[in-house]
Amino acid sequence: MAARFLEEAGFSTVVLTPSPDFHRAVGIPRSAAIEYPYGRPVGQVGDREGQRKVLMKTLEVLEKAKKPGEVWHLPFTWLEEPKKTDWQPPEMSPIVKFFLEDIKKARQREAEKI
């Protein structure tokens, strides 16, 4: 939403997003998708070189994207295994708490499918 607003206000935007599917649904002008955990889209703490590489690729998307809605997938892989990567808040977020029953049901349905 913010990207759409700014683009309309005359800025060229690029969104470095760890959730391209979610952002695709709202119509983002230019996305650089990255398979990094939430809260650290640019890279690991203190990894200046790795962070620079991600940013260079992200800025390239500004020049390369030609049509509204394009998603460019960046070729980086997070070093830790996803299951072992700690990105979640220390306390359960209020909205997750609110929908906890629905989330549990969704998980159960998914498990039954397998």
Binding site: M1, A2, A3, R4, F5, L6, E8, A9, F11, S12, T13, V14, V15, L16, T17, P18, D21, G27, I28, A32, A33, I34, E35, Y38, G39, R40, P41, V42, G43, V45, G46, R48, Q51, R52, L55, K57, L59, L62, E63, A65, P68, V71, H73, L74, P75, F76, T77, W87, Q88, P89, P90, E91, S93, P94, I95, F98, I103, A106, R107, E110
Partner: protein
């Protein structure tokens, strides 16, 4: 899963002609229950409306940049983003924004966000708001300029568009006044 032919998807590869170019799986890090629930709530159809577009008129080495994040970063000298009200009202998210000057480091900030672990940003602001690298890029001539101000708002805005008026509009005005042409956005 082959989506490469999809018009939306362009693949950037580090190696030309790399047939195994990466397609990002945005659900990798999400635990199974939450993943299933989110998948159910995302529309299956592509976005149908018009997507706004401002062409980049110059190469990036002549372009002025600002950074905008939704990570809830505030200066220690400013009031923090309001987490208490969100704890009481599950669907409410702080609509305000903060200016983050370009010389800001992790020593100068607070981070408040109930949907991520904020400790990494407090250890190194650049994992979310890469001010140091953009300043380096400016020095090296990779970008034209990094504007004096970058910005943070708060990303949890459940079906709420007030924040556009309360935050994004004033951010946009400030950016115009600083000659910003392109914006790198990093959602939390």
């Amino acid at each position: 899963m082959t989506r490469a032919g999809d018009w939306r998807i362009k693949i950037v590869s580090t190696q030309p002609n790399d047939e195994k170019a990466k397609i990002v799986d945005g659900f990798q890090f999400i635990p199974p229950g939450l993943r299933a629930w989110i998948r159910n709530s995302i529309p299956v159809d592509d976005f149908k409306g018009t997507i706004p577009w401002t062409s980049l008129l110059k190469s990036i080495n002549r372009t002025t940049f600002a950074l905008v994040t939704s990570a809830g970063i505030s200066l220690k000298t400013d009031p923090p983003f309001d987490m208490e009200r969100e704890r009481r009202e599950f669907f409410w998210g702080d609509r305000s924004y903060r200016i983050i000057p370009r010389e800001t480091t992790e020593n100068d900030i607070e981070v408040n966000h109930l949907h991520i672990n904020t400790k990494y940003i407090r250890q190194d602001i650049n994992v979310m708001l890469p001010l140091a690298q953009m300043a380096e890029f400016e020095q090296e001539g990779i970008i034209g300029r990094l504007a004096p101000s970058s910005f943070s708002f708060y990303g949890f805005q459940w079906e709420n568009i007030d924040f556009l008026k309360k935050s994004i509009e004033p951010i946009s005005k400030k950016m115009k006044s600083e000659g910003v042409e392109a914006v790198l956005m990093t959602p939390a």
